[in-house]
Symmetry: C2
Subunit: 258 residues, 2 copies
């Protein structure tokens, strides 16, 4: 099987024009097949402010009402996705932007209302990789934002980490797939105040310890769950760290294994 | 050669949810290969108002400064394009959204500043139909908004009528291509106050008369120029009228011929 790198970048890179440009140069330099998934960053919040919309957060999650979904669609699928695609084209990486609605690639289901009504938030239920694979075979590079659809005409906001994991799992059926989560730290840190205290390897065994000690907590918990979900479902390698890890295998980063 | 319909819809359809839904039902019912191009409608103007941005118009054309381009990208490539794609998916038309930057399909050049500086407006210089043709061969339906790029990382706002003509011309090399401009009238009218006074056929000969008599004027002039440009460059058939013309060949509409 051919090798494929599925790479997710978060808001801290999108928020910083220089960081985004540096990342896209690194991304373009990666040889072989690759897919990019990006989050939204603070552009959506800024636009909501300009439009005097309130952003409601519950447990650190944005509540997506109809107007917030419009903003997410405009910013993630419009401005951020197309800016990235145009910048990649300028670097001679022949990128092509996607939401999950495009080509029906990522079907999701509106999250059921339980304790919290998250609004127009969708959880991935089905990934169709046919068109992505056709494009990869023609040296095009798919670039996904985290907007999906329910198949009944409704767009839905989806967690970008989860979307990256599900896409990597689906692609792992036909490619030797590696999943890279680029974020603002060198990796998962043993000591949050020491940037270099990267835990090089996390597996199911030490993960339980790290959780019970409170070393892995808050926002890192769902990210780790996505990592384990991927590694347990056919993805060959899952790494978390700075974009440096994509070009320098000697750099510090965290690898998640079974 | 296989037949292909290239269909452009304007703002009046996008502005009206019921009209859009009706159009998309008609569009889905069209058998055979098809490509959709859409304009933006008033959503962009409304968003600019919400953000307290002034829209500058010169000679009926929007001047695209950097903030206006952001809005055009968000609205056309984000909200409008993805809403159309999701709605088509719900109707089992497997649509996939495009700007000209995606797959480097439509390269444009920022318009030179002469009497007027139109800002970030691009005129089409090159169309690469490879990916569009691959998708058509796999029964996917490309849906273009009129945002393009200059190949150096700059997105550009492009006239949707022109984009439709250029795309149809490029596709006419490999398909028997028909181009349909759907707008708010039954066709080009002999008498602007009589909705049924449709001129059934316009060719280069009567076009000169219609122009000199002032029957074709203002916004119809560039539309006619796009029609003639297409018909003179390999497109087999060019029609202007209501979406009805797509399902009922007995309905009134205008055909443009050489």
């Amino acid at each position: 099987m051919e090798q494929l790198k599925v790479i997710k970048i978060g808001g801290h890179i999108i928020n910083d024009q220089q960081a985004l440009d540096d990342f896209l140069t690194t991304f373009t330099a990666i040889k072989g097949l690759k897919v990019l998934i990006h989050g939204g960053g603070k552009v959506a919040t800024e636009l909501a402010q300009k439009m005097n919309l309130e952003v409601t957060m519950i447990d650190g999650r944005r509540i997506t009402d109809s107007e917030t979904l419009d903003i997410a669609t405009m910013v993630y699928a419009g401005k951020v996705n197309k800016t990235i695609v145009a910048k990649l084209q300028a670097k001679k990486c022949n990128a092509i932007g996607f939401t999950g609605a495009d080509g029906n690639t990522i079907l999701s289901k509106k999250r059921d209302v339980e304790e919290v009504d998250f609004g127009y938030v969708g959880d991935v239920v089905k990934v169709d990789t046919e068109i992505v694979e056709v494009l990869l075979s023609r040296k095009r590079t798919p670039v996904f934002c985290a907007i999906t659809h329910d198949g009944h005409g409704q767009l839905l906001n989806t967690n970008a980490d989860t979307l990256a994991a599900e896409l990597a799992i689906a692609l792992a059926k036909n490619y030797e797939t590696e999943l890279y989560y680029c974020f603002e730290k060198k990796g998962v840190l043993q000591n949050i105040t020491d940037e270099d205290s990267v835990i090089k390897n996390i597996n199911l065994e030490n993960y339980q310890d790290l959780k019970s000690q409170g070393i892995i907590a808050d926002g890192m918990l769902p990210k780790m769950q996505n990592c384990f979900h991927a590694i347990q479902n056919g993805v060959q390698k899952v790494c978390v760290g700075l974009p440096d890890m994509l070009q320098n295998s000697n750099s510090l980063f965290t690898t998640i294994s079974n």
